[in-house]
Symmetry: C2
Subunit: 208 residues, 2 copies
DNA sequence: TAAGCTATGTGATATTTGTCACTGTTTCGT
DNA sequence: ACGAAACAGTGACAAATATCACATAGCTTA
């Protein structure tokens, strides 16, 4: 049991809290592409990423989507938390970005712990701050940047997330995350290739 | 002093907390148009709106802006709170939307109270949720809606905020809040007038 | 009262992004 | 091995929004 709780590399979470997490939660493995939270579904668990990453998106009825932020190891989905405490359906969709190991905490536990464990409360608060700033960045990019800048920044974000200059992604996936058309992405990537900023191959983009 | 704390119509804030607010804070009156928080300035106080309203915007170096959300009576600016606890400069600008009476709380008090007063912690948390959802709405509108829909929704928001069908606003102000061009707003409003959805006069829009 | 400033409306054009249609290549499944 | 599906690239065109220039009307100030 001690071995297991060592898996939890969350800053500022004390051992007692980690114990609680392990005892209350269930560890599950997911593959890239798995949808672990569907929009408009009720939230039963709070996912804490042990390894890997998730992406959180907003989608419209007609299928259009927009990326909000990524969830890395040591983080959770505050939108799930939000949905849980207001007993509402999820307003976002969470998709596994890289193969992941996730600890699923029953949502009522996550809520109860806020008043019971200061380190948990602090953890949730800090994640709220982080996500809030990330949403501000999304608003900023959409309001003030052209689509070509947004593509470049999205590639940089993916590079940071995986730590690799080789990004496994399709043009369609990038288009989905940016809320634009696949052809727009293909054209802009081709231009970036001409400018020797990236190298393209099928299902893969290499940042130079 | 008891008369004063009665001014604070914040749900779920107990009397002891209200007492603290009144003792620690300073009440000030502001006029519509006053800027009470400039982007890139350090945050010293947390503004709680007693009467009136504020609008919070993001601005770009070249002067372009975008409206994030309104702050009504009984609410505060979580971005100020965020900036205060991370000892950072403000990432937003706050402008008085309607003549307002505001209670200014020293930021260090606001921070200390989170662990000291459960009702304050709850208040801040709930406002975070609210703002988070509002930012999601902004992202949604920008990603999935055309500018004409966004103008209509902005007018509806202003109507809700003031409780009046007569909205005192210029085309330029709407353009600033939406991050678009003044001519675009004038044209769309003119069309809405032709469709008998609004009535236009200088500095005023009446929703029919 | 008149000049100056602000707000609004309009025409024309430019830019950016989106859509449609299609082709070619690569990968996957039977 | 072959056909289907997915992915990528490209041309042409459409739609939405932005920009520029300018005129007119309303309001403020001297």
């Amino acid at each position: 049991m001690i071995n297991d709780s060592a898996k939890i590399s969350i800053p500022n979470i004390d051992n007692e809290m980690k114990q609680q997490l392990m005892e209350s939660g269930t560890i599950k493995n997911f593959k890239a592409g798995d949808v672990i939270l569907q929009e408009n579904s009720y939230i039963k668990t709070l996912p804490i990423v042990l390894q890997g990453s998730l992406k959180v998106l907003r989608e419209e009825e007609d299928g259009k989507e927009i990326l909000l932020y990524y969830i890395k190891a040591g983080e959770t989905c505050v939108m799930s938390f939000l949905g849980g405490i207001s007993n509402d359906k999820s307003k976002v969709k969470a998709v596994v970005e890289e193969d992941s190991e996730i600890l699923l905490i029953p949502i009522h536990n996550a809520q109860d712990w806020v008043s019971k464990y200061p380190s948990w409360c602090d953890f949730i608060f800090k994640l709220y701050h982080k996500r809030f700033e990330e949403l501000l960045s999304v608003v900023n990019a959409m309001a003030f940047q052209k689509i070509d800048q947004r593509i470049v920044e999205l590639l940089q974000k993916k590079q940071q997330l995986t730590g690799s200059k080789e990004i496994n992604v399709t043009h369609q996936q990038l288009a989905d995350e940016l809320g634009t058309a696949r052809e727009v992405v293909s054209r802009l990537l081709k231009q970036l290739e001409r400018e020797k900023k990236i190298a393209l191959s099928r299902n893969k983009i290499t940042i130079l």
